[in-house]
Amino acid sequence: MAVSRRGFLHLAAPPSSSAVLLAARGLEAHLAEAQRSGGARTLVPPGVDEIRISSNENPLGPGKVVLDAIVGKFPEAGRYPFNSTPNEAALTTAIASKFKVKPENIVLGAGSQELLKNAVRAFTNPSRGLVTAAPSFENCPGTARKLGHPVAEVPVDGALRIDLDPMIAAAKGAGLVFFNNPNNPTATVLGAKAVADFVSRVRKLSPDTVILIDEAYHDYVTDPSYQTAVPLALDTPNVFVTRTLSKAYGMAGMRIGYAIGRAETMKPLATLKMPYNVSVFGIVAAITALGDPKHIEAERARNTEVRAFTIKALNDLGCRSSESQANFLFTDIRRPAKEFREACAKQGVMVGRDFPPFEKTHVRISIGTIEEMRKATAVFRSVLRTETSPPVDKKPGAQHEEAAWR
């Protein structure tokens, strides 16, 4: 090897000034980037420190143990992920062991986004469309629209939870149901009983419909009524769960996700999987992190504490949040998200994108570190006290919201 591990440990830490400017991220930035239409990004003014609470990331990153494991594999940077040690198969096996299932029950993704995209490609068609809550994570409906497959959007209920009865009705004859639990951006969760009941009713009404339960924020849930749907998926045809290492595991930049379900349900996703989609460093990082569950428990505790602080600070400003079970809040700020977002950005605080039909009233705020949230809530205080436009009364979603806040 030209470069030994030892050689790397001796490298001086690079000056942080060489860091690339990280502009506002999220799906809109991704689309802007993909389409080369860049210009519309909100930017923090020069010289202002950025607090990025816009993309539901873990502000601490993956932690030292994982980073050390990556450095340990620097000598294998030139090896394909099937030739590295550990290799891709070892990651699949590690995930399978965590759930006590077989490797054929697992499919790896370049983030869970690849799996969501491929689920739409595999399970919907021009006559059997997608069903999703609205608002929810936009990847699946975005992919379906690109393919020209129909999309049924079912508004969330008054408490901003996925509204089960109309979702079930819409699922009849559908190709795929996208069920995000906790739901991004509304942060609400449905309990294990409600999810099992939902699955059973959809199965009865429409047995060929595939149900994708996206548990990206699983590790942040504290509601005792919640349980993972993985056992349900393993017992039930046409149901699978996606997970990601982008959230509590602090590896959004590493692009690692996985799907878990019955082998016959996984097969189309395995077929569509892009070969070598997880890097050599992603493999070792994920295996290391999966072996350290205490780290995730600590991250959940940290997030729970900062989440409570932030909910209270916003409540004190008269802004109510939905019942958050994730690492972000969906908060009624009684004014357009865009206006709030731009005002916060001027003071270095980046918050979430628009989520129609709530873009005139609600903003999504990710949970940073406690230091970041102390600064951010001070910025919110100054922005929310400056009334830039009259509060909006009649707007989409108002009815839901009234029901919710009573």
Binding site: L11, H30, G78, R128
Partner: protein, 395 residues
């Protein structure tokens, strides 16, 4: 079960299994596969083995790039927790290096994503994929998965792309996969002949797109060597694919790109373009920026190192009456007069890993990649031992 490239094509066939109601995948079964380069799932590399199976750079990316990977951890090691915003910066660095504009470049998770996007966009049930037999299997595997027809074209007697046959097959085709140097045969078609071929296809079949895979570009030593990027930026029907997995030594990081006309690049980006929030990891993005900004002496040194090892290995086989093809890459394709599998298994038993089968030459030829000189000296001792023994199943 490792879902390897081979596994990927092997699992196709769900379209006929009746499980799915989808019309998106029109897969045919494996028995219909043309490029049936399947083999048992690749097994894990054991410590101490010499890996000559996957056309990797045995030295990896080098210090400059690895320093950039470590820098990509960011302050407090927090940056891997963030979706990366640096794909634009890499696109600009590539554009500067290749003397094109950012709108001429799209990134992929390795060139794999590029090859898949092009196959998706430019083949259809009535627009076949054209590729040589053998060549790199990604496009054919994807076309087969989609149920799009593939037209295999034989190589010439020197195992080079046969341009007359390719031009004939290109008529009415959706996409021609033009891998140059060709993997696995290692042969190279000169720049002038390629330019003439591009012009001929443009005349005879103007709706056909040609994807030129220049994965091994930096290893070519042929006097008539040049990139076809200048043609691609002007012609919406020509795309050049590049990868950081070969001379740049970054196979483990997953980064590749395509250069082409803005319209073509836009189509590819909109269909499945790589970015820091989709398929591209932050370490690879930063590694790519550092790699492409290196002085040209980096690739020149790697080319020279590879050539020395290549000359040594070619001579070793030549001296024993086994003449490899004219290798212009970091691997060779040689007639060993016995099935590749037999040779491969015997070499593996002695700690040397060589490549998979490449039909229709799997009964006679083997592809082997160049390691370091030290590795090749050990490897040829193993080859000597294995090839010196009488084949048990000579063809």
């Amino acid at each position: 079960m490792a879902l390897t490239r081979r596994g990927f094509v092997r699992t196709a066939g769900i379209g006929v299994s009746g499980v799915l109601t989808s019309s998106w995948i029109g897969a045919r079964g494996r028995e219909h596969s043309v490029w049936s380069a399947f083999e048992p799932t690749l097994s894990a590399v054991e410590p101490g083995q010499i890996v000559l199976a996957s056309n990797e750079n045995p030295l990896g990316p080098g210090r400059t790039v690895m320093a950039a990977v470590q820098a990509a951890f960011g302050e407090g090691g927090r940056r891997p927790g963030r979706y990366s915003g640096s794909s634009r910066e890499l696109i600009e660095a590539i554009a500067a290096k290749q003397k094109v504009k950012p709108e001429n470049v799209v990134l992929g998770c390795g060139s794999t994503q590029i090859l898949r996007s092009a196959t998706h966009l430019f083949t259809a049930k009535d627009k076949p994929l054209v590729g040589t037999m053998p060549t790199y299997e990604e496009c054919a595997g994807y076309a087969e998965m989609m149920g799009h027809p593939v037209r295999p074209v034989a190589l010439d007697a020197e195992f080079k792309l046969d341009l007359n046959r390719l031009a004939d097959a290109a008529k009415g085709a959706g996409l021609v996969f033009y891998c140059n140097p060709n993997n696995p045969t290692a042969t190279y078609v000169g720049a002038r002949a390629t330019r003439e071929f591009l012009a001929q296809v443009a005349r005879e079949s103007p709706e056909t797109t040609i994807l030129i895979d220049e994965a091994y570009f930096d290893y070519v030593t042929d006097a008539d060597h040049d990139t076809h990027i200048p043609v691609a930026v002007d012609n919406p029907r020509v795309i050049v694919a590049r990868t950081f997995s070969k001379a740049y030594g970054m196979a483990g990081l997953r980064m590749g790109y395509a250069v082409g006309h803005p319209e073509t690049i836009k189509k590819m980006a909109e269909w499945d373009g790589g970015s820091g929030t989709s398929s591209l990891n932050v370490l690879a993005l930063h590694a790519g920026i550092a790699a492409i900004q290196q002085d040209a002496s980096y690739t020149a040194a790697e080319r020279a190192r590879n050539k020395e090892v290549r000359d040594f290995t070619m001579k070793w086989f030549g001296d024993r009456g086994m003449k490899p093809t004219d290798a212009q890459a970091n691997f060779l394709f040689v007639n060993i007069g016995r099935p590749a599998k037999e040779f491969r298994d015997a070499c593996r038993a002695k700690g040397v890993l060589v490549a998979r089968d490449f039909p229709p030459f799997e009964k006679t030829h083997c592809r082997l990649s160049f390691g370091t000189m030290e590795e090749m000296k050990k490897a040829v001792a193993v080859f000597d031992h294995v090839l010196g023994r009488k084949s048990t199943a000579a063809a």
